[in-house]
């Protein structure tokens, strides 16, 4: 597998893994460039492009005006004509400014042109609540993207996955969104120094278990793992699946697990209503109905904008305690 050709492996924070991934992409692909707001001089407001301007110059690490529609359009046009753009949309919430370029251009051009156009474009963006950034800087809007045929969508939970998925996205000849998580920037984990790619569309079983499956992604992987430890005391042996890729979705891994455990919950930070949980629950009942001992539970944010006040935000964002409570309720405990 391309994933594991490790040379030296170090502990790196998520933010440094992103930096290393983009440096790798710029080194390996002479046609690649990074463009976005404050990506060059400032190295991004999250710090993950620091040093790249000095290393690759302002032709390949490009500061743009605050013009999201223009920035994504730049990426679409450049990708269609021979370059391999890595486009930065600082916060996922700002997709509103550029949704036509995403939904009607980037996602559809190859199909509408009868396959004659190819768009090797990677979009890096930031999702997630938990930092008191209020309603317009805290959303998890991945389903906006997953609902659009023509886009791949990945959401790494660890530094290892962040590096491998970004490199994988940049090697892909089609548009891939990499939605990062702002609460995870300082999270540390092992990252091989070498270049490696995680195939897009492969989930990972991050904890094996026998009688309950939690399907999750992004930061909720860590909350689900904590919940699994707590549930072990109740005799619930939880298998945790990190989807990593939402589009394409690795239904096989999910179904195989549910057939084994016969009970499942889907956990995500996004609003529960019309979230990924609905899709995954439907897939499970379509493919493993006869195996199910209970309905598929869904844990997600309540149906409201993200509130500012820490007192409200804490009760808004899903966490291990809520996952445990939800699973216990499902199991009638």
């Amino acid at each position: 597998m391309a994933e594991a050709q490790a040379t030296e492996t170090r502990e790196l924070p998520y933010v440094a893994a992103i930096n290393e991934a983009v440096r790798t992409v710029l080194t390996e692909q002479p046609n690649a460039f990074v463009a976005g707001e404050d990506v060059a001089g400032a190295g991004s407001v999250f710090g993950y492009y620091r040093g790249l301007l000095d290393e690759f110059g302002d032709g390949r690490v490009v500061d743009t005006p605050i013009s999201e529609e223009g920035i994504v359009g730049l990426g679409v046009g450049a990708a269609a004509t021979g370059l391999r753009p890595v486009i930065d949309i600082m916060f996922m919430d700002f997709m509103g400014e550029c949704m036509d370029e995403i939904a009607n251009q980037m996602a559809k051009m190859r199909y509408m042109f009868g396959g004659s156009a190819k768009l090797p474009i990677t979009v890096l963006t930031m999702s997630g609540a938990g930092m008191n950034m209020a309603a317009q800087h805290s959303q998890s809007l991945e389903v906006w993207l997953c609902h659009l045929p023509g886009l791949k969508v990945v959401m790494p939970s660890t530094p290892y996955d962040a590096k491998g998925l970004i490199i994988g996205a940049a090697r892909d000849d089609n548009p891939v969104f990499v939605a990062l998580n702002k609460m995870s920037l300082r999270l540390k984990g092992p990252v091989p120094e070498a270049s490696y790619e995680i195939p897009i569309g492969e989930a990972k079983v991050v904890r094996e278990g026998t009688n309950f499956t939690i399907v999750t992604y992004s930061r909720m992987v860590h909350e689900s793992l904590k919940a699994a430890e707590e549930l072990a005391a109740d005799g619930v042996d939880v298998e945790v699946i990190d989807l990593r890729s939402l589009q394409p979705l690795d239904t096989d891994t999910v179904i195989a697990s549910v057939k084994k455990t016969q009970r499942a919950a889907v956990v995500h930070e996004a609003v529960r209503f019309a979230g990924m949980g609905g899709e995954i629950a439907a897939q499970i009942q379509e493919h493993a109905f006869d195996y199910l001992d209970a309905p598929v539970a869904r844990v997600g944010a309540p149906f409201s904008p993200v509130p500012f006040s820490p007192a409200l935000e804490q009760s808004y964002v899903p966490n291990a305690a809520k996952i445990v409570a939800e699973v216990r309720a499902l199991l009638g405990g």
Binding site: D63, T64, D93, M131, N132, A134, F303, F308, S309, L312
Partner: protein, 323 residues
């Protein structure tokens, strides 16, 4: 040209600027001490713009603001207590703790919100100006936005529509030379944002944004036009923010020099204004200090009110969710 400001108006503008300055300085300290959650974009250095424009507006006139919105709300009549309470995320805040610094608003004062989305204000102000025109009571809408925001498509669409419909509207570009950490020269190929106005069929006016009287006079003429049905104006105020993009010291990036900051600080809008008031024998140094002291006491009382206020109860989370 509009009439020169009366002594009363000058003192009013002075107080508005001092109110903003003291609020923002104390908010900055609280943010640096980790006592205010989230991100604060402070207005220190730009006070003359808010004061010079807002002195012309009543509660029935509307404004839209930006992520750097406290100064606009204070100049529009915002009170310290519910403002600090909002920044602290308390139930007694203007938005009941649900909005915070980036969404602070007050409909009763005609303030349609700070905004977390750069460039979101101008189109909303077009709608407010459309209401003003339809309602025919002589009210106007003013939209504040930065040099950086003038590169968003939303600004351009709003400028075209406001001019097309001859709306009673004022576009106020606060050009502080930077969009976040990017200097203006690296984000647009022009020096004066006001140059964009003729392309939309409206006048573009450049003023010294550190000079409250210059802002007041230019805004007065633009608002006279707006109220007379002659359409919008783009007023560009050249200014500078004395603090970092976020907070006071921010992320510590070296994107501008200490010398440049010091140069602009020599033209501190409040110092300049106080010198002028002293020269005109309207306000001497002691009386100016008295205004600062009184305002600072009000700011401290506002902070105490906020700190003593309850956090919102989790049961209110879904209040105002209707779909």
């Amino acid at each position: 040209m509009t009439a020169q400001p009366t002594d009363e108006v000058l003192l009013d503008m002075h107080r508005r600027m001092v109110r903003i300055r003291n609020f923002e300085q104390e908010a900055g300290k609280l943010a640096e001490d980790g006592k205010i959650p989230g991100a604060l974009h402070l207005y220190v250095g730009q006070e003359a713009v808010a004061a010079g424009v807002m002195t012309h507006l009543s509660d029935q006139d509307w404004i839209t603001s930006t992520h750097r919105g406290h100064g606009h709300l204070i100049a529009k009549g915002g009170e310290f207590g519910p403002m600090f309470a909002e920044l602290f995320g308390r139930a007694t805040g203007y938005c009941k703790g649900k909005g915070g610094s980036m969404h602070i608003s007050n409909m009763d004062l005609g303030m349609l919100g700070a905004n977390g989305i750069v460039g979101a204000g101008p189109p909303i102000a077009v709608g407010a100006a459309f209401s003003c025109k339809t309602q025919g009571e002589g009210h106007v809408a003013a939209t504040f936005f930065g040099d950086g925001a003038s590169n968003e498509g939303s600004f351009h669409e709003a400028a075209n529509m406001a001019s097309l419909y001859k709306l009673p509207m004022l576009f106020v570009c606060e050009n502080n030379g930077y969009g976040e950490y990017t200097p203006q020269a690296n984000h647009q190929a022009i020096v004066d944002v006001a140059d964009r106005a003729p392309g939309y069929g409206m006048p573009g006016v450049v003023v010294d944004g550190m000079d409250a009287v210059a802002v007041y006079e230019a805004a007065g003429e633009a608002l006279r036009r707006a109220r007379a049905g002659e359409g919008p104006t783009l007023l560009e105020c050249k200014t500078y923010r004395f603090f970092d993009h976020v907070g006071v010291r921010g992320m510590g990036l070296s994107y501008r020099t200490d010398e440049e900051l010091a140069e602009w600080q020599k033209r501190d809008p409040i110092t300049l204004f106080e010198a002028r008031l002293a020269e005109l024998e309207i306000l001497d140094a002691d009386s100016a200090q008295a205004v600062h002291d009184e305002v600072l006491a009000g700011v401290r009382a506002g902070i105490e009110f906020a700190e003593a206020s309850p956090l919102p109860d989790p049961s209110v989370l879904l209040d105002d969710v209707y779909a």
